[in-house]
Amino acid sequence: MRKEPNTTLLKIIPSLYQWYKEVGITLPMVGALLTIVSCVPSQNGGGGGAKRVRGATTDNSTFSVSPNFGRYLDDNPIALSGNTSLDSTTPLGKFLNQSPRFITSNQFLIAPCASGGAGLDQCLEVKETDTSSYITATENRWAFNTSTQEFLQVQTFANMKDIMNKFHTTLEFSYNIAQGYGYNSAIPSQLFTSDDNAYWFKSGILKGYSNCGVENNAFYDPAGNTICLGHITVEPPLYVATDPTVTWHEMGHAFNKIGMNTRHRAFESSISVDSNLGFLFYDEAGAINEGLADFYALFMNNRTLFADWALGRYLKQARPLSESESVHSPGVEKTQDGRLSYPTYITYDPNEPEKAFEDVHYAGQIPSHFFNAFYESLQDSSICGLSSDLSLKMTYHLIFETLAEIGDQTATGSGVLTTNPANFKVNLDPTNAVEWMAKNKPITFRRFFQVFSKYFLRTLGNSSFAICNGREYYLDDYEKLLDSYGLLLFKTYNENDNNMFTGHSGSNTTVTPTNRVKSQLISKDLLILDNRENATTAFVIDNQRDIKAAIESLILSGRISSISSQIDGNFAFNNGNAQISPGELVAVAVNLYNNSNSTMAGVHLLANDWDHVKNGAPCNNLGDNFPLDSEGAANLTTGEGAQGGCDYTTRYNGKNILVEPNEELAPVCLVELPDEEATKWVTQDKMRTNIGLAKTNCLGGDTSLKDCFIRAVKGADHAFYSRIDSKKTWAESLITEDGVPEFNSSNVIFFEVSPWIPPGTTFNCRMRASFTNCEDCHHDANNGYDDYLDFEFAGAKPFKIINFKFTVID
């Protein structure tokens, strides 16, 4: 914090001198007196009011600060020095703010927090590693040489404390906005009064480790609520903790976790499963998480370049947050056409722009650039004209609102917290909320920015509130900005939400169609299985080595549930013949083809159980012409809209036996059973009884008969593709040097194949596909293009059904 010079002292010196001369006090004595006066520490600076000076090296010795004070870097050394060639041998003392700052009066590096009248005595703590002892101040002073581990801990602690305090200040501001203006807000009134510490963590403390020993890595561990800062492997090591932007980024992940769990924590519900923002190696929820985390660096230092020291100096992986950063490729600029737009830049690394990288950190640049652009627009006097500080707070206000709604496991979304199903407006209901967030109705760029926009409409865009210096932020300006990023992907602001009873009631604000210039909406019918001549239907990975490596990474990262005990631990049945054989665990990438003239993005393929089978037979009125009536399709004559009929979609995802006793979900894979008259498509359990297989021989044992023979591994039962270019498949869009596709774990679906399957058995796995910039995956043409209701995502309507047929070969 910049400290103003003490001008009062300067004014009285001449007067004092005159007086001293009169009373016979010599000039040296005056000089000594002034020196003593200037050395008295002030509350804020500890340095006697000296102007902030960098450049002169400070050894940061113990007695150069007052008790409880210390020094630390408040930005990374490259930012502080302006020297992009700085290396890890450089002593960092010259970049310290010479004015010491308050660290803590505690014995250890432990900090309290407070917000909205609530507080905790221990909110964060820092040590070197998780098993290190706490360091203590030397003579109650926290000044250490910058080459020491003690300094790193103070550095980490101070950076974490600074952002935590600013986060709480901003959160309190947001709460006051929501309460003060009285609109339908997602920020709960119990935010600061809940016993579950909805404004922080239920367990209380967030731990930081300044040198946890990991190489070229840092991580946030939400299970243990810890932040681990490693080092870059150069000589001498570059400690990540010396780049505050990385510390702030990791704190950003922690704050996103708080945001996603705000409402049910405020409700003190007994939900123990936290809402997460990101579920696969690559998905758009994870990209949003990364973009938000990058933006938390700007939150602190107002710079539009992230990690130029820790990531940029040696690894060339610094990330920009503005098109004006020089690291960007030519053509990327702050114009309507030049913005970092979706989906064009979804796989873009500014450091290697000629290559495509499907990675959440690169995809996250699109939202981070938008957040910065929106923040800048709020300061633009022709648009809103707010101060920098207020603009940042209002940007974060919309972020807090959005996270609180999309992560809400009470399913109420906004307004009063209640268990009344009439108020379940988002994520279907508490029982299914996590599955909706992760799979059926995932958090995508479309969903996030539609909700963000809804709260924009309720606040900045509200003419009654006139937040923008006497007027609102005009909707046209907002839509044009959002469209310049390719994110105007919704037709209405969906103010009526998605409740099964009221989701189509009332009216919604519609997007002005002419504002949608860059944001392309494409019909789902144009997403098909590649049907070109000699085209591949699916890629298969079934060799032992790759499957072992894939499953190991999924198990280590905790992405999947358990695998059937019928699958050999060494994948002994995996024969690498590129076919699906009994006893194997295979990875399948269905070869989806984009038959449109625009890029499809955020393509999501689901292989989880869904509502497509009634009374034990597959429905054939779901738009995929499967199966034929003669092939065993379900009877369609059940009363219209009645439970158990093919034109009825379960309201509770098949999980409420009391209200919907005849509704159950079915696995995606059906099996072809030869019949006397014709072949029929039947459920796997029917096949099992037909061949006389004992229940205990099913993949899931005798309690899981529905997926007896072929089962998608839970957690790996959905796949995500960043983009599919026009008239191409995903593999063709992200081509490798030799043309053989390479997949990461989120691009494939893993299937367990029972060893009991008779070779020659044919299966049809009826999967559902959607994509982010889809026209009719989200908008219901029969209801004024309002969003589909939540329950409909248990069925077929919002999806393009993809039938993957294969025969199990011995």
Binding site: T129, T193, G224, D274, T410, T431, E552, S565, Q579
Partner: protein
């Protein structure tokens, strides 16, 4: 005096018997970390996690119980859902709006060796030098469509042979030791560009399969 001596000896013996047989050789208490290691394809053994292992795996011992952190006043009381027991030693974990039915069917039983089963189930696919650490957090019963399912809520930490750290929370089936659900997975910031990718073994098409 003699009778008192006999009674005391008897009670002492019963106590020892309880600890050894009922609690099992592991003798681990809820909230303590247990290590599982695989030494060979079929060999997995377990023991209470040592301090050295905790250091290596970056395991922090929190408070023995989930203590409420110290907080300042200004709290408004909100009516909390009362804890209800399903079977002895565990609580129902009901979501907002869920009510207990009048009659309950339990979909599984509780196997005291669920941790061992879990360790075997996870490690059987992993390389021998992988370390698995499990810390029980709660014993719950979930209300599913067809009845109640007993689960163990755990924190899992894993250390790959290369020393990479992973952590998450999970529900474990109390009978089979299988993972039902996971959440709060570690978010890494890999600062190189190495990601695990897999090349297709081959492809399937209308004209058959092709091996690359």
């Amino acid at each position: 005096m003699k009778k008192l001596f006999l009674l005391t000896t008897f009670l002492f013996a019963c106590t020892l018997l309880y600890i050894f047989i009922i609690r099992g050789p592991e003798g681990t208490q809820e909230g303590q970390w247990q290590t599982y290691k695989k030494t060979g394809p079929q060999n997995i053994y377990s023991y209470p996690t040592t301090p050295e292992e905790k250091k290596e795996a970056k395991i922090v011992d929190g408070p023995k119980k989930e203590e409420k952190p110290l907080r300042s006043p200004a709290s408004k009381k909100v009516e909390k859902m009362k804890e209800r027991t399903s079977i002895k030693g565990r609580n129902w974990s009901l979501l907002p709006g869920q009510d207990l039915p009048k009659t309950i069917t339990y979909l599984n039983k509780v196997n005291d060796n669920w941790k061992g089963l879990m360790g075997q189930d996870i490690l059987r696919f992993l390389r021998p030098k992988t370390s698995l650490f499990i810390k029980p957090q709660a014993r719950l019963t979930l209300l599913e469509r067809d009845g109640g399912r007993h689960v163990e809520q755990v924190m899992v930490k894993m250390l790959s042979p290369e020393g990479r750290h992973f952590s998450y929370q999970a529900y474990i089936d109390s009978e089979t030791g299988k993972i039902i659900k996971t959440w709060n997975n570690t978010i890494h910031e890999p600062m190189g560009k190495k990601t695990t990718t897999f090349r297709a073994t081959g492809s399937i098409g209308p004209s058959g399969s092709t091996r690359f």
